[in-house]
C-alpha cells in the first residue's frame, strides 16, 4: 500500500531516485539542492558522498554507471559550470547504468551569486535530454522515468528543478523501494569509454570523437520520439487565439493565474528537452500568439520560433527575450501582469490589494558570536593601515564585503580568490594582496589556485577560514571535517600540512583575539612569497547547536557614562546584538552570546 507524506521537493526527488534503485549518489552542497544528498543516506544499499566538488561528483556518478549501477550527481547551477568539462565528454560516451545529473537552478538568485539556466549548458551545449518539473510530485515521477530512459537511450538524463520545486513542500505519494539491487559489473567498451582522437578502422579511419559526436546527434531523433509520447508534455484546450506555453514551474504559475482570473486559455505544458515537436506544431497552428513562461532564459521560446519558421506557421512567440521580464523569478502575478498587456480582458481581473511598499532590507551578516566577525574586523583595520587589497570567495565570510565590514573587493565563484590575487600581485601594484577563502571552498577548487600561487611565487597572503564545515549551505562536512556524510569518522586533511608541503609559510591565528590577528596579518604581508594564514575556529552556530563552547564566555556591559555614542562598535564592527537607542549603545541580552569582542573594538573602554 502506498503511503503519503508531506515532503520538501528535494526529499521527494531523493525518494524518486531511491525507488528507481540509484546506488551511487554524489554531490557538492549548494542551495537549493543540498538536501538531496543529505536525505539519501537513509536509503539502504546506497553509496552516498559529499564530493570535493561537482566535477568530481559527476565523475563518481559515471564510475558507478559504468559498473551498471544507477547513479545520481547532485549540484546547483554554478556546480554544473564546474562539471561542464566532464559533461562534454560523458555526452559522447553515454552511460551504462541509468545516470541522472541533477542541477538545481535558482531563478531570482535567492541564495546564489548569479542567475543562470542549466538547460543551456546541458541541452543547448551538451545535447543531453532534460526534464523540467512543474511540481515536486512530477519531479519525483520524472527522476524515476529518467533512470529507465537513461538505460534505454544510454544517455545521461538531466533533472533541472528550480528553487520553487526543491524548496516547495507538498503531499507526496511514496511507492515501494526495490527489493533487490543490481550486482556491479564492468563491461569493457574502449571505443566508447576511452575518449581519444584515435582513428577507428571500422569507420574507415574516422576519428573516435567524430564518431561519438555523430552518435550523440543521431540520439536526438530517438529522444524526440520519446518526448513526443512523454507524459510530461500535453495540450489543454481553451478559448481565444492567445496560447500559453508553460515550461516546468511556468505551467504551475499559468494554472494559478488562470484560476485567479477565472478564464480558460489554450495551454501547452512542456516538461522535456528535446521538445515534443509534433505537439508543438499542433499547438502553434491553433493560435495566433503564444506567451512562453520559462525559468530563466528564453530557451524554449527560441526553439518555438525555429519550429514556426521551419514549418511555415504564422505565430508570434513572446518570450523572455522580447516581451516578458528577462530577469528574476516568475510567479502567478508575473503571468497575470503580462497577460493583462496581451489579452485586454485580463486587466480587470487583477486582485491586487496593495502595492508593495519599500521596507528596509535585511542584509546578511555574520551570526552573533561568529569567529569571522573578529577576523574580518582585524583584517579591516589591517588594510586600513597597510592599504591592503582583499579578494574574497564563496562562503559565510562573503558577508564581510557588505556594510558595515566592506573588506573584500571582489567575490566571483568558488576558488577564484587566490588566482585573482595572483593576477593582482603580478601587476606589480604596490599594495599587499590578501586572498580570503573558506575551508570547504579551498578543498573544492581553491587548492589548485594555492598551488599556482606558490609555484609562481606570487606575493599573496592567503587567509583560510577553517571553520570545519560548509556552514553557508547548512553544515555539510568536507575533507577537513573529520566526518563523512553519514557522520562517521573520516580521514582529516590537514590544511596547514598541505600548505607547508606545497611550500607556503604557515601562520595561525585565533580569530577571537582581534589584536593578535591583526598583527599576524600585518606581519605576513611583509614576508615575500605566498603565505598562508589559518584562522582555525569552528563555526559558532553549529557548535552552539551541538552544545560545544568555542570561546571563553565574557559577559560585557555598556557603561553609559563612558559611551559617547560614537557607534564604532555598530558602524565598524556591526554585531547585530548591539542596538543604538537614545544616543547610547545597548546590548540586546536576548541576542548576545557573550563573545565579548565588542569590548575589544570599543576604543573608549565603554564596553567592559
Amino acid at each position: 500500500m502506498s503511503e503519503k507524506k508531506f515532503l520538501m521537493g528535494n526529499h521527494a526527488i531523493a525518494r524518486g531516485a531511491a525507488e528507481a534503485g540509484a546506488t551511487v549518489v554524489a554531490g557538492y552542497p549548494g542551495t537549493p539542492a543540498s538536501e538531496i544528498v543529505e536525505d539519501y543516506v537513509q536509503y539502504p544499499g546506497a553509496y552516498v558522498e559529499w564530493a570535493a566538488n561537482e566535477k568530481v561528483a559527476t565523475e563518481i556518478a559515471i564510475g558507478g554507471s559504468l559498473c551498471n549501477q544507477r547513479s545520481l550527481a547532485v549540484m546547483k547551477h554554478n556546480g554544473t559550470n564546474v562539471a561542464t568539462d566532464f559533461i562534454m565528454h560523458l555526452n559522447f560516451t553515454g552511460v551504462k547504468g541509468g545516470m541522472v545529473l541533477l542541477s538545481a537552478d535558482d531563478p531570482g538568485a535567492n541564495s546564489s551569486q548569479n542567475e543562470e539556466d542549466t538547460r543551456i549548458l546541458v541541452h543547448t551545449y551538451g545535447h543531453l535530454p532534460v526534464f523540467d518539473p512543474s511540481t515536486p510530485a512530477e519531479a519525483k515521477a520524472m527522476i524515476k522515468d529518467a533512470y529507465e530512459l537513461s538505460e534505454k537511450t544510454e544517455l545521461c538524463f538531466v533533472l533541472r528543478p528550480v528553487m520553487r520545486i526543491c524548496h516547495a513542500r507538498s503531499i507526496i505519494e511514496l511507492e515501494p523501494l526495490p527489493d533487490k539491487l543490481r550486482e556491479p559489473s564492468l563491461e569493457n567498451d574502449r571505443s566508447r569509454y576511452v575518449m581519444s582522437a584515435v582513428a577507428e578502422p571500422a569507420y574507415g579511419g574516422t576519428l573516435r570523437p567524430v564518431i561519438r559526436h555523430r552518435w550523440l546527434n543521431q540520439k536526438q531523433e530517438e529522444l524526440s520520439a520519446i518526448m513526443e509520447e512523454s507524459p510530461y508534455n500535453w495540450i489543454e484546450e481553451g478559448e481565444g487565439e492567445v496560447g500559453l506555453v508553460g515550461c516546468g514551474i511556468g505551467y504551475s504559475y499559468i494554472k494559478e493565474a488562470l484560476e485567479i482570473a477565472g478564464k480558460k486559455l489554450p495551454i501547452l505544458k512542456l516538461g522535456t528537452l528535446p521538445l515534443p515537436r509534433q505537439k508543438v506544431i499542433q499547438f502553434l497552428r491553433s493560435v495566433k500568439k503564444v506567451l512562453v513562461y520559462e525559468e530563466v532564459e528564453p530557451v524554449v521560446a527560441r526553439m518555438l520560433r525555429e519550429i514556426a519558421y521551419t514549418e511555415g506557421i504564422e505565430v508570434e512567440v513572446l518570450g523572455r527575450d522580447n516581451f516578458l521580464p528577462p530577469e528574476g523569478e516568475m510567479s502567478a502575478t508575473y503571468v497575470l501582469k503580462s497577460l493583462g498587456q496581451v489579452v485586454p480582458s485580463f486587466k480587470d481581473d487583477l486582485p491586487f490589494a496593495h502595492e508593495p511598499i519599500p521596507v528596509p532590507t535585511r542584509i546578511r551578516s555574520q551570526c552573533v558570536g561568529c569567529p569571522y566577525r573578529g577576523m574580518l574586523h582585524a583584517l579591516k583595520t589591517t588594510i586600513r593601515k597597510n592599504k591592503g587589497i582583499v579578494t574574497g570567495d564563496i562562503g559565510c565570510h562573503d558577508a564581510g564585503s557588505f556594510a558595515p565590514m566592506e573588506v573584500q573587493s571582489t567575490i566571483y565563484c568558488m576558488g577564484s580568490s587566490i588566482p585573482m590575487a595572483i593576477g593582482m600581485a603580478k601587476t606589480g601594484i604596490d599594495r599587499p594582496i590578501y586572498a580570503m577563502i573558506g575551508d570547504s571552498t579551498l578543498f573544492h577548487n581553491g587548492i589548485i589556485g594555492l598551488l599556482d600561487a606558490i609555484y609562481n611565487q606570487a606575493n599573496v597572503t592567503v587567509i583560510i577560514n577553517d571553520n570545519r564545515t560548509t556552514a553557508m549551505t547548512g553544515f555539510q562536512p568536507h575533507p577537513g571535517s573529520e566526518v563523512n556524510v553519514r557522520g562517521e569518522e573520516a580521514p582529516y586533511m590537514h590544511i596547514d600540512k598541505i600548505a607547508s608541503a606545497m611550500g607556503a609559510k604557515v601562520y595561525y591565528i585565533e580569530p577571537y583575539d582581534i589584536e593578535a590577528t591583526k598583527n599576524t596579518f600585518l606581519e605576513a604581508a611583509k614576508e615575500p612569497g605566498t603565505k598562508v594564514v589559518i584562522a582555525k575556529a569552528p563555526c559558532f552556530l553549529r557548535s552552539s547547536r551541538l552544545g560545544i563552547k568555542t570561546f571563553p564566555e565574557r559577559v560585557v556591559k555598556v557603561d553609559p557614562e563612558r559611551c559617547n555614542g560614537c557607534k564604532v562598535c555598530i558602524n565598524d564592527f556591526g554585531c547585530p546584538a548591539l542596538i543604538f537607542k537614545d544616543g547610547k549603545v545597548h546590548i540586546d541580552e536576548a541576542t548576545c552570546v557573550h563573545c565579548g569582542l565588542c569590548a575589544d573594538v570599543c576604543k573608549r573602554g565603554a564596553i567592559k
Binding site: 503519503k4 508531506f6 535567492n110 541564495s111 520553487r164 524548496h167 516547495a168 513542500r169 507538498s170 503531499i171 504551475s252 504559475y253 494554472k255 494559478e256 493565474a257 484560476e259 485567479i260 510567479s331 502567478a332 502575478t333 497575470l336 487583477l350 486582485p351 491586487f352 490589494a353 496593495h354 502595492e355 508593495p356 511598499i357 521596507v359 528596509p360 532590507t361 535585511r362 542584509i363 546578511r364 551578516s365 555574520q366 551570526c367 559565510c396 558577508a399 556594510a403 558595515p404 553557508m472 552556530l541 557607534k567 555598530i570 558602524n571 556591526g574 547585530p576 548591539l578 542596538i579 543604538f580 536576548a590
Partner: protein, 202 residues
C-alpha cells in the same frame, strides 16, 4: 475550503516550524497542502517568509500570489509590512510586536517604521488585525523559543479554519514529551493574549 497563509519573520523565530505544523494539521484533516519558504540566509540576519496553502481541491503554485493571502502573520512587524502586497482584500493580519532592527537601521542608514505606521499601513490592506508581544511573553516564560508556539496559539484563536486542539496536537507531535507542558502553556498564553481587547488593532 481554501486558505492562504503567509508567515513573515526573521531567522531563528521558528517560522518554518510553524508553517510545517499548520501543514501537518491540514494534511491530517484530509486537505491538500502546498507551500514553500524563502530563506534569505536565515541564521545570518535574513528574512524568512513561509507560504502555506490549504485547499480541498488542486493547488498549483507553491507561492501565495499577490492579493491572495487570507492571513498575514508577522513574526516580526516590519517583515509583515514587506509582504503587504500578498494580502487579499478582507484579509486578517496578526503581528508580533517585538521589533528586530536591521544592521542598517542600527547604523542610522535606514529607519524602523513606527508601530503605529505599520499598523496603519497594514490596516489599509486588511479588514481585521491583531497585535501581541509574543517575544516578550515568551521571554517572561523563560525562553524566547516559545515565540512561535505563542503565535500559533493566537492564530488558531482568530482563524476558524485552524482548530486549536488540532494545531496543538500537531505542535506536540513534533516536540519531545518533556517540553509538552511548557508548550501547552505557551499555546494557551497566545490564545489569551490575542483575546485581550488591546490586541485587536483593526
Amino acid at each position: 475550503m481554501k486558505l492562504n497563509l503567509v508567515i513573515a519573520g526573521v531567522g531563528g523565530q521558528g517560522n518554518i516550524f510553524a508553517s510545517e505544523v499548520i501543514a501537518q494539521y491540514a494534511m491530517k484533516k484530509g486537505y491538500n497542502v502546498f507551500g514553500t519558504e524563502t530563506i534569505g540566509a536565515a541564521q545570518r540576519g535574513g528574512s524568512v517568509v513561509s507560504h502555506v496553502r490549504i485547499a480541498d481541491g488542486p493547488i498549483y503554485s507553491p507561492l501565495v500570489p499577490q492579493g491572495q493571502a487570507d492571513y498575514l502573520v508577522g513574526f516580526e512587524p516590519m517583515e509583515a509590512l514587506r509582504y503587504i502586497n500578498l494580502t487579499k482584500p478582507g484579509a486578517t493580519f496578526l503581528i508580533n510586536r517585538s521589533q528586530v532592527p536591521t544592521i542598517s537601521i542600527n547604523m542610522g542608514l535606514d529607519r524602523y517604521p513606527e508601530e503605529g505606521e505599520i499598523i496603519k499601513t497594514l490596516s489599509e490592506a486588511a479588514s481585521c488585525g491583531y497585535a501581541i508581544d509574543a517575544t516578550k511573553a515568551a521571554a517572561q516564560m523563560g525562553n524566547t523559543i516559545y515565540t512561535n508556539v505563542i503565535l500559533l496559539g493566537a492564530l488558531s484563536k482568530i482563524c476558524p479554519q485552524l482548530e486549536p486542539e488540532g494545531i496543538l496536537e500537531a505542535i506536540l507531535g513534533r516536540l519531545k514529551p518533556k517540553t509538552h507542558e511548557a508548550n501547552r502553556r505557551a499555546f494557551a498564553l497566545g490564545q489569551e493574549l490575542v483575546s485581550a481587547p488591546e490586541a485587536k488593532v483593526l
